[in-house]
Point group: C2
Chain length 245, copies 2
């Protein structure tokens, strides 16, 4: 089983190289952590949109429906949006039964690029073990697509890819990894049990900490607290098997 | 002192972000190792060209001059060229006093992208300690530009960036690193004294080993055997202070 890790959006290969694989999109701080949280707290779907204007258009075109608009630019809430990019904002009382239109700087692009694959899963530390289990069950070659930060390698996304690889590794599995995969798995294993430290060490984590978002970092550093594996298909992220509104 | 490591050509930032920095271009297997070797073996200059046609045109336009044409496509010598991309081919008897027109798949692109910086140095494991010393002496912020392999992260280039960082680190220096820099330095330190193993573990190294190029890997894995620091300026790589033909 071949598993390649791609460190940033610009390193994700062309659609033709993804179409027979399963893909995993990761943006630990904070898009994919937030998407998972919104869905487990009852959001109907999360629709990743590339630009705020795209979200406003959906709202205008569907005047009879209620939407939650969420996301960020430069880590802060977008004017006219309901929520930012903190997973802590996506409480059941705010999102239950509603579709979330969601746009972030890096995460949304990674999901859209990964979408060329046969299956696309949304991962964060919270569900990394569950995603690993799903990939092993599926048995296809895998492309793990890290968002990175502004096309630069990020410690937290690569370590999360490494966590998935560590949980996929075992006596029963033979993983053929690319160079980034080897480094990702070693990085995760070095910070196993200290993911909060890792997030505070990362450039993006430091910039969020400076904004006072320590609680977000601690939330995003939780490992394996969720068994949910969100799937991106037909333009939206859903929880398969979840009761839909 | 800020030092950023960029893992592949597509991750190297735009010219505006490089212009006040020193840049280092790295393609351990094998372009920058070969360029260094050619120059220390007496080549007059090495001119990185993006395409073989560019080299043939220079030859046609300068019928009175002798050139060495070197480089590779898919790791093999280019039809009509004199030499491939193995450092072992660039012996004094073949290159002394001659300009080398040189093109490779990844290394040439990295050098050309790094060229937006104020100074551009050419590094490999052979001269990593010497390059580190030069960067500390210069005192500017640094962009370490790894070539990678076909826009993918490569173990050997990142480890070489890490070797430079390890040699720059010390009681007298305060380095502010990006996330890739942190990982690069740790990667190098883990393989310190076992660089041959690292190269044989890397995807590119394995592909060269399958072609029978073990001796190239061993040559490229030598650490600190050269004190030369080639500089790229005005379209060519030279050894400052070397006697020019």
């Amino acid at each position: 089983m071949r598993v390649d890790v791609f460190p940033t959006v610009v390193n994700i290969p062309d659609a033709a190289e993804l179409e027979n694989r399963a893909a995993v999109a990761i943006d630990v701080l904070r898009a994919t952590t937030t998407i998972l949280t919104a869905l487990t707290n009852g959001a109907d779907t999360v629709v990743p949109v590339l630009a705020p204007e795209e979200a406003f258009k959906v709202v205008r075109d569907n005047p009879e429906r209620r939407f939650v608009l969420g996301g960020e630019r430069r880590s802060v809430v977008i004017p006219g949006f309901h929520l930012g990019n903190s997973p802590l904002e996506y409480t059941p009382s705010r999102v239950e039964g509603l579709p979330v239109l969601f746009t972030t700087t890096n995460g949304t692009r990674a999901i859209r690029r990964a979408a060329a694959a046969a299956e696309v899963y949304i991962a964060s530390f919270l569900n990394a073990p569950a995603v690993a289990k799903q990939l092993i069950a599926l048995g296809k070659d895998v492309a793990i697509c890290c968002a990175g930060t502004h096309d630069q390698f990020s410690l937290e996304d690569t370590a999360c890819a490494g966590a998935i690889l560590a949980y996929m590794s075992g006596p029963g599995s033979h993983l053929e990894l690319n160079d980034m995969g080897l480094v990702a798995r070693e990085l995760y294993l070095r910070y196993d049990g200290r993911l909060g430290d890792l997030l505070h060490l990362s450039e993006h984590g430091q910039s969020l900490a400076k904004m006072g978002l320590h609680e977000d970092l601690l939330f995003c550093a939780q490992l394996g607290t969720s068994t949910a594996v969100p799937v991106f298909r037909e333009g939206q992220v859903v929880l398969p098997g979840a009761k839909r509104a």
